[in-house]
Amino acid sequence: MKRIEAIIRPGQLPFVKQALEDIGHGGITVAEVKGHGKQKGVTEQWRGRQYKVDYLSKVWLLIVVQDAQAEAVIDAILDAAATGEIGDGKIFISEVQDAIRVRTRERGEAAI
């Protein structure tokens, strides 16, 4: 099983979610994060004083998928998350050894 971790623009989340549903994958966990990469932050202002906010709001997605589905899911995310501007985000893929559904205690690919 693969653990797909994507950091994307908040505004693209609905499209990513739709794209995942379109290819039949439902399970997803999201969290609010902040980050920066090449994209360097924005200038904000507080009572007349400008300052740099290094971190920009991003959404972190965790999607665990069966190995066979991994590339389809990745493609779906890439299509839906990209705007072509810097700040579009990153996807990291790693290996998951096991998954368990809490309610049924099913394990392995069946649990996803």
Binding site: P10, L13, V30, I86
Partner: protein, 498 residues
């Protein structure tokens, strides 16, 4: 005794001028006959209205304190309860509340007023708006004590009864000329006990004890919030969610109290303004003493400066001085406020030791400090204060100042009567709801928060990773795609490079 005499009387000594003015002003003729009396009546009506508006704003204060003191997941629920009891109170007080409190007809009696239902045959609108604001206050107190687990429909139901019946009857007893406890008997009659009768200038007993003890019975009946008391007797803490709005609410309440207490002179002309100003001073000092005392006590006992109890302490001080704000001297009002705060803090602990769960401290602040306020009249009123406030027999004043025990006795009678009536009727009301299974939400709803299932929302819907904050409609959905057609591709860079 004529209807016009029975209505809303205050002791005649101080308010004779005002009273006369009101009587005269009600006919156009009077205006010409005595323009000064007419102007005095205009001034008095202005005072009643302004005080009413300020007391009304206390609804916002209660809403903010209560909302701040509950968890985020029950915030919409408590806000909506506060919103609706103002509305329900208005309608209920129009149709029956005033009638039971001050309504005048031949069948009115010492226990209950009957007459002027739906304001028929009535035109003293300034008094109505003032009394309405008080009624709404009594009702709103209860919501805090029963917060975070009471069913919304039950709340609507009991709100009608509290503003429509339970509270007005107590008003009738204590403030209507006809009431059995009243200090404001018609010319020539004698109040209960032969002295001043029951002294409760602005309603520590009439308003706050009614709210507080109805809340106490409600809190007992509905039971504690899940998790408040652990299986091994632990008392868990369930912190509220927003100290900022709670503090705002406290300040709004303190502000509103300047309508509540000084406004209870009901008049300004004929020198009543002097009394009103004195009341403003005692109110201020009691609140201040309550706040300082609460902070000192918590600092000494817990080592930290506790904000929640500072808020409760100030409110306790305000409730405590409400009955005696006109008869207690300024220096003594400091004592009244300080003791009230101590009682509030003790009350919070006491309730927990009985596993009675009062999320915002409403029972201690309004119920217990209310009892103290009524008794403080019998302990600390000065002879001069009783005279200045216009009560009939200034020879009976505070026990601790040498005024004998009689006034205290009448005050105790008042406390007993109000507690008995309020607790009794509330027990029937909440008991019935409980028997019908209508009082409390399901455990699952309580866990998830009342906002979600009763109100379909949480109070801060746009915090958290919700992206654009745009949601497709519920129901059989086609391919609702994603709320917006993909926008970003074609727009300019979405982040500036600083």
């Amino acid at each position: 005794m004529s209807a016009s005499v029975r209505l809303l009387r205050r002791p005649t000594a101080i308010l004779a001028g005002a009273f006369l003015a009101l009587a005269l002003a009600s006919t156009a003729f009077a205006q010409e006959a005595d323009p000064v009396a007419g102007l005095g009546a205009d001034l008095d009506r202005l005072w009643l209205m302004l005080a009413a508006f300020m007391v009304f704003l206390m609804q916002a204060g209660f809403a903010m304190v209560e909302a701040g003191f509950v968890r985020a997941k029950n915030t919409t629920n408590i806000l909506m309860k506060n919103t609706l009891d103002a509305s329900i109170g208005g309608i209920a007080f129009f149709f029956v509340g005033w009638a039971f409190a001050y309504g005048s007809s031949d069948s009115s009696n010492g226990f209950i007023g009957l007459g002027n239902f739906a304001l028929t045959g009535f035109d003293d609108y300034a008094s109505w708006i003032f009394q309405f604001a008080f009624a709404a206050t009594a009702a709103t107190i209860v919501s805090g004590a029963m917060a975070e687990r009471t069913r919304f429909s039950a709340y609507l139901f009991y709100s009608v009864f509290i503003s429509g019946i339970i509270y007005p009857v107590v008003v009738h007893w204590a403030w209507d000329a006809n009431g059995w406890l009243t200090a404001f008997v018609p010319e020539g009659e004698t109040p209960i006990g032969g002295g001043n009768g029951y002294i409760d200038f602005a309603g520590s007993g009439v308003v706050h004890m009614v709210g507080g003890f109805a809340g106490l019975v409600g809190a007992i009946m509905v039971g504690p919030r899940l998790g408040k008391y652990g299986p091994n007797g632990e008392v868990n803490a369930i912190p509220g969610h927003n100290i900022a709005i709670a503090t705002l609410g406290m300040f709004i309440l303190w502000f509103g109290w300047y309508g509540f207490n000084p406004g209870s002179t009901l008049a300004l002309s004929g020198g009543a303004s002097e009394l009103a100003a004195r009341v403003a001073v005692t109110t201020t000092l009691a609140a201040a003493a309550g706040g300082i005392t609460a902070v000192i006590i918590t600092k000494l006992t817990t080592g930290i400066y506790d904000m929640g109890l500072a808020v409760n302490g100030i409110l306790g001080g305000l409730v405590g001085i409400t009955a005696g704000c006109a008869t207690i001297d300024p220096w003594a009002s400091i004592i009244v406020g300080a003791v009230a705060a101590a009682i509030v803090i003790g009350g919070v602990r006491l309730l927990d030791s009985f596993k009675i769960d009062d999320p915002v401290g409403a029972v201690s602040v309004h119920g217990f400090a209310g009892v103290w306020g009524v008794l403080a009249v019998g302990l600390l009123s000065s002879e001069n204060g009783v005279a200045t406030a216009g009560y009939l027999d200034s020879s009976q004043y505070g026990l601790l100042l040498g005024g004998g025990v009689q006034q205290l006795g009448i005050q105790l009678l008042g406390v007993a009567a109000i507690v008995a009536w309020t607790a009794g009727t509330s027990a029937v009301l909440f008991g019935a709801l409980k028997v019908m299974g209508q009082l409390r939400v399901e455990a699952d709803e309580e866990h998830r928060g009342l906002d979600l299932l009763e109100h379909g929302i949480d109070a801060y819907p746009d915090f958290g990773p919700s992206a654009e904050g745009i949601f497709a409609p519920a129901g059989p959905r086609g391919r609702a795609a994603g709320p917006t057609p993909r926008p970003n591709i074609t727009t300019t860079a979405s982040a500036s490079e600083s």
